[in-house]
């Protein structure tokens, strides 16, 4: 087990290195120059040159990359060109926000998705199945930004039940924090719930017809135990893969949802950074989210291990 984890972590290192190299090169392919983007509507050539000098943008590309990599290995991800905030402190600021949103969204997705998938698999072909499928498909097909704006217009503007947007740290006020997070979490959660429901349903359907379920039934176990303990547990393996990958994705930021609810998370950070050609921020955040994604994959494998006894053998 430990060997497995260490091996996986060692494989992660070259992957991360390749990610940084790729992000660095992709940025160079982007048209537009960071100094120029920083100068904005007042593009004084003398100032642009001064900015280039100040941020070493005139150095050869491999030198720039080496500088960045060496500093990154020492834990220094550089500073934002746009507002001079250290990239690490930007990540530290945004991480709890994104993490909280991702956890809430995932909880909503898991509860709705697994329950609906289970019901529609057990009652396959019934009205329940049909209803759950319609809900799942709507969850997947309705664009997040549209659902977000509709929720704001109905719940905040029309009824005044919840604040329309913004963010308060749970340390300042947990109640206010939840009031602000619930709508974005529902928007993100319902979209993922649809995917989860479809996966749970198909995995459950094949599990229901598997030999071990027939054996369990033959042993005279109650239908409840057969379904929840035998069928669902096995059916969860692909759902867990899906869930951890979706969670990893949520951690790299839900751009549109964050934009609509003006939540200061990773999505907004990275999109603004790309548009402003704020390279240090883009590199830092991608390196970080890449690491998170790799860890999520590792977590998925560990969960398989726990769920599926055959892997432990």
């Amino acid at each position: 087990m430990l060997g497995f984890i260490v091996r996986r972590l060692l494989i992660a290192l070259p992957t991360l290195f390749l990610i940084t190299l790729m992000v660095f090169s992709l940025q160079l392919l982007l048209p537009g120059d960071p100094a120029l983007a920083l100068a904005g509507e007042e593009r004084d050539p003398a100032v642009i040159e001064a900015i280039r000098e100040q941020y070493h943008l005139n150095d050869p590309i491999p030198v720039q990359y080496a500088h960045w990599l060496i500093a990154a290995l020492h834990g220094d991800l550089g500073i934002s060109l746009r507002n001079r905030e250290p990239v690490t402190s930007l990540i530290v600021d945004k991480l709890p926000v994104t993490l909280e949103l991702a956890i809430l969204a995932m909880l909503i997705a898991l509860v709705i998705g697994i329950a609906a998938g289970l019901v529609s698999a057990i009652k396959k072909g019934s009205r329940w199945d049909f209803g759950a499928n319609v809900v799942a498909l709507s969850g997947i097909s309705v664009p997040n930004f549209w659902l977000g704006i509709m929720l704001i217009l109905l719940i905040s503007v029309r009824w005044g039940w919840l604040p329309a947007s913004g963010y308060t740290s749970p340390l300042d006020s947990l109640a206010q924090n939840l009031e602000m997070m619930i709508m974005p979490a529902v928007v993100l959660g319902t979209a993922i719930a649809g995917v989860m429901m479809r996966h749970t349903r198909s995995a459950m359907i094949s599990a229901i017809h598997a030999d071990y379920v027939r054996t369990a039934r033959a042993k005279g176990l109650s239908e409840r135990v057969v379904m929840l303990k035998h069928a669902l547990r096995n059916a969860l393996v692909p759902v867990v893969t899906m869930g951890t990958l979706q969670f990893g994705e949520l951690l790299s930021g839900a751009v549109l949802t964050e934009q609509v609810f003006t939540i200061p998370g990773f999505g907004k950070l990275i999109v603004d950074a790309v548009f402003n050609r704020d390279y240090a921020v883009v590199q830092g955040v991608v390196l970080f989210t890449g690491t998170v994604y790799i860890l999520m994959n590792l977590l998925a494998d560990l969960l398989y291990y726990l769920l599926n006894p055959r892997l432990r053998a």
Partner: protein
């Protein structure tokens, strides 16, 4: 039972305390269209940054509602006879938010910082200053290399914003993270892309005019979301309400709408002489540019793209400016346009029009494309995001592009950089020596009549040469909650917080 009574009592007391607090603390929340860049007046480059500075940093001179220059930190100013020495008397008893006194030394420090910081964006605006003399604690003299009339307007913008020399020295390059000025509100905290919080500065020299305890600026890029937040009560003022939303604001009894014609403009910049891309009929033949203009109907653009809420115009200066020319908008005349193309020896012209990929610009570009199409112009629209577009403008890699400028109080700020032969933002490399010399005459004179004459000549040359086809002046629209009182709209788009209060 007694426990639940006790609990009820506590809850009631808590609620009462909360309400008392709400009634006392006056926090104004403003929704901005973008997240400001660096909060350092010398390094700041964005329009929204200027909005935040207005709450935090006083300037030597302020701009009035009629574009007149009014005292702020300088109470009086005067020029010597040959207009090369500007003497400014400074307000007494003013201090910066860190307690440093505001005096002539601080002014000298600030102007020298604007001139000497390597990445100062203010250098060009005040480069006419040769040196600064501290006459006494409350008088400074600015010695110019040569007369430069736009200087006063520059001192009414970021170049005239005074920051605490103590804080600037202490923070160095990181000043923008903890800015200290002398304005009505002091910096409290900033969470990137979330909010900027300012708190009332208790020692402000004009504190009788300040009725708010706190101001929070929140960047919300989407105009619909901004409005929804205003309607839901999360915001008290929104900046740049979308023209499509104005009817909703007007129809909502809980909201108010304020507006002003902006100092800026939107127009089509044409590549006249910047690299090989200039080598096309639109860039080379003034008749073709005239034909292009004749095929456009500016009021249709305004009606279709902006619900008739903007101000169509064919000039760079706002109609509120005393230098705006009284010239009629040309009527659309497709036949004349076709005839001009014929005169130029062609029946159709291919043009690539570059636009920023936002819905408004795209709409304007499409309307233009269909209108000029009738006269024989095949317009290909290329949309790209802002940073890529800037790159193409700066390197001359464009034929024509839809560009906007936020505008400045002095006419020079809308003209020189874009049209003078050595202009720093002259992307099309247009150069006309007559226009150049008139721009320089206007720069050298503080006499209104003389400047008016020069700018009339400039305006007429522009209407003839058409290096930029000016289309309209955007209007500023602010949506306000009906709780907000005392808000005054200004053509520079800044949100001044003096006299603003909340119910």
């Amino acid at each position: 039972m007694s426990l639940s009574f006790k609990r009820c009592g506590l809850i009631l007391a808590g609620t009462a305390a909360l309400f008392t607090k709400v009634a006392i603390a006056q926090t104004l929340t403003i929704g901005l269209a973008e997240d400001p860049d660096m909060l350092d007046p010398d390094r700041g480059r964005s329009y929204v940054g200027r909005v935040v500075f207005t709450g935090m940093c006083d300037k030597l001179i302020d701009v009035g509602a009629k574009l007149d220059l009014v005292p702020q930190l300088a109470t009086q100013w005067s020029w010597n006879d040959d207009q090369t020495v500007l003497t400014m008397n400074l307000r007494q008893g003013v201090q910066f938010q860190d307690g440093t006194p505001f005096d002539a030394d601080a002014v000298k420090y600030n102007l020298e910082r604007s001139l000497n910081l390597p990445d100062s964006n203010r250098k060009n605006e005040i480069s006419a200053i040769d040196h600064i003399e501290v006459v006494d604690a409350h008088t400074v003299k600015l010695y110019l290399k040569s007369p430069f009339a736009p200087l006063l307007a520059a001192l009414s913008d970021r170049a005239g914003m005074m920051i605490s020399p103590t804080a600037a020295e202490k923070e160095g390059a990181d000043f923008s993270r903890h800015p200290v000025c002398s304005g009505p509100f002091e910096f409290d905290q900033r969470v990137a892309q979330d909010k900027i919080v300012l708190k009332q500065f208790p020692e402000y020299w004009n504190k009788d005019a300040i009725h708010l305890d706190e101001v929070v600026y929140r960047p919300i890029p989407d105009a619909t979301v901004r409005l929804a937040n205003l309607q839901a009560g999360q915001l008290d003022i929104i900046d740049r309400a979308a023209t499509a939303d104005l009817e909703r604001i007007r129809g909502d009894s809980d909201l108010k709408l304020e507006s002003a014609v902006s100092l800026g403009y939107s127009g089509i910049t044409i590549n006249i002489d910047h690299g090989p891309q200039a080598d096309n009929l639109l860039g080379q033949d003034p008749r073709v540019r005239e034909a292009f203009e004749l095929a456009i109907d500016r009021s249709i653009i305004n009606q279709v793209a902006f619900d008739g809420e903007f101000t169509p115009d064919n000039q760079p200066l706002s109609p509120d400016s005393p230098y705006h020319l009284d010239r009629p908008l040309p009527a659309r005349d497709v036949e004349h346009a076709k005839a001009l193309l014929k005169e130029a020896g062609v029946d159709h012209v291919d043009v690539e029009l570059m636009v920023t990929n936002n819905p408004d610009s795209m709409r304007v570009a499409q309307i233009i494309q269909s209108m000029v199409g009738e006269a024989g112009f095949n317009v290909k629209i290329t949309a790209s995001e802002f940073a890529s577009m800037l790159d193409r403008y700066s390197s001359g890699d464009f034929q024509a592009g839809l560009l906007s400028w936020s505008g400045r109080a002095d006419p020079d700020g809308n003209l020189y950089a874009f049209l003078a032969c050595d202009g720093t933002l002259n992307d099309g490399k247009y150069c006309n020596s007559d226009l150049d010399s008139q721009l320089k005459v206007a720069r050298r004179s503080n006499d209104m009549a003389e400047r008016q004459k020069a700018y009339t000549a400039v305006g007429d040359i522009l209407l003839e040469d058409r290096p930029i086809l000016y289309l309209y002046h955007p209007n500023w629209f602010w949506g306000l909650s009906s709780r907000v009182h005392g808000f005054k709209p200004y053509p520079d788009g800044m949100i001044r917080l003096e006299d603003v209060s909340l119910d």
